[in-house]
Amino acid sequence: MKKNLLLIEDNEYNLYMMSFLLEKNGFDVKVAKNGKDGIMLALSEKPEVILLDIQLPEMDGYQVLKELKNHDELKNIPVIAVTSYAMPGDREKILQAGANGYIEKPINPDTFISDILKCLKDGS
């Protein structure tokens, strides 16, 4: 069974790279380039996990997180932040905002999949 995953990321190359890597590792990947589309896709697709960039146009990752966690149908879907915000304290801030996991960019292609699975295991 393919794991249904939603990837919200505004950078075109990063979006392509991560979805390629995820699909090759057996994920069924839906993509959104902004928060609003991301939330709509989350509602229609009910993914098992959401990978969320934090710096996004218009609605940033924090706002997306808030919307997702306030929505009855979506609040139980684990959200993993995949972000370039890697200054001290960013991780804590993002987890505090409701993310179930945090992966720093640049991702490590050798461990990206296991990192995601680990976040899912720890979060549940």
């Binding site: 790279m17 890597l21 001290p88 720093e104 640049p106 991702i107 490590n108």
Partner: protein, 297 residues
């Protein structure tokens, strides 16, 4: 009329004193007013300078955060796609293509290390780096790092011995930052050693753990010894051409260990090897209290 009357009553010398007094009074008041104005001026200027400095500080932090973010985003694609290609996920590669992509991978990792180091040192210099102390098992942490290091020593045909005495258990420190320091010492040892190997020891006294990383490598010239904990010294010394690195690792390590209340020092002999020692308080949080209570006692 009146004036003349007074002049009759008041002797000349008193009149002189009064005029002198009034003169002094007027001068003093004028001076006081000028001084007050000057003080106000200076205060205003100082306040402006302070605001300007605070603004510059804020801008510097914002700049660093933005730089970190902006550099990571393209680096994510470079490292990601390189990894995908190397894994053969986008199709098979011939040996030469693999070789070249491995060089891209190494270069991008070097660039990432540089970004992380420059950010670290800037944060430390600005006094903005915060430590996150937690309680963890130092032995397990050391064993993990030595395990990670073994791959590299085996590749170079070096031995890797370790000796952790029985008393080494729990420590309260910033685990991520301590491991960063130890990884730095271990990778330096591997990098600068061509034959022989590396010995890691850890002992404990009442208050501290003493961790040492000893190698049989090229050693450090006595002239350079006092400088190696200063930023960018490897680059200065011209060694960077032969040995890759940011030249920031040791200066970051020193600051981090000092922030945890510890010390780091080196003994070295050119051609024989180097021995880096870290003295780490068992509890970085209790450190200040203990010291101040000792002072009082």
């Amino acid at each position: 009329m009146f004036l003349r009357d007074y002049m009759v009553v008041i002797p000349g010398w008193v009149f002189f004193l009064i005029v002198l007094g009034i003169g002094i009074l007027i001068t003093s008041v004028t001076w006081a007013l000028i001084l007050k104005r000057r003080v106000e001026d200076r205060t205003k200027k100082l306040k402006m300078a302070l605001e300007k400095a605070q603004e510059a500080d804020r801008l510097k932090s914002a700049f660093l955060a933005a730089m970190s973010h902006e550099l990571r985003t393209p680096l994510n694609s470079i490292i990601g796609f390189t990894g995908i290609l190397l894994k053969g996920l986008a199709g098979p590669l011939n040996e030469e293509q693999k070789r070249q992509l491995l060089m891209v991978k190494e270069s991008s990792q070097h660039l990432l290390a540089l970004i992380n180091d420059i950010l670290d040192i800037s944060k430390i210099e600005a006094g903005e780096l915060k430590l996150f102390p937690s309680r963890f098992d130092l032995r397990a942490s050391l064993e993990k790092l030595i395990g990670m290091c073994r791959h590299f020593t085996e590749k170079k045909g070096l031995y890797l011995e370790f000796n952790i005495t029985e008393g080494v258990h729990e420590v309260i420190a910033d685990q991520k930052r301590l491991e960063q320091v130890l990884i730095n010492l271990l990778t330096n040892a591997v990098k600068f050693t061509e034959k022989g190997g590396i010995t890691v020891t850890c002992t404990a006294d009442q208050k501290n753990y003493i961790i040492s990383v000893k190698d049989t490598g090229i050693g450090i010239n006595g002239n350079y010894l006092p400088l190696i904990f200063e930023p960018f010294r490897q680059i200065d010394s011209g060694l960077s051409r032969k040995y890759e690195g940011t030249g920031l690792g040791l200066s970051i390590s020193k600051r981090l260990i000092e922030m945890m209340g510890g010390k780091i020092f080196v003994e070295s002999e050119p051609g024989k090897g180097s021995n880096f020692t870290v003295v780490l308080p068992k509890n970085m949080e209790g450190q200040d209290e203990k010291e101040s209570s000792l002072d009082r006692g």
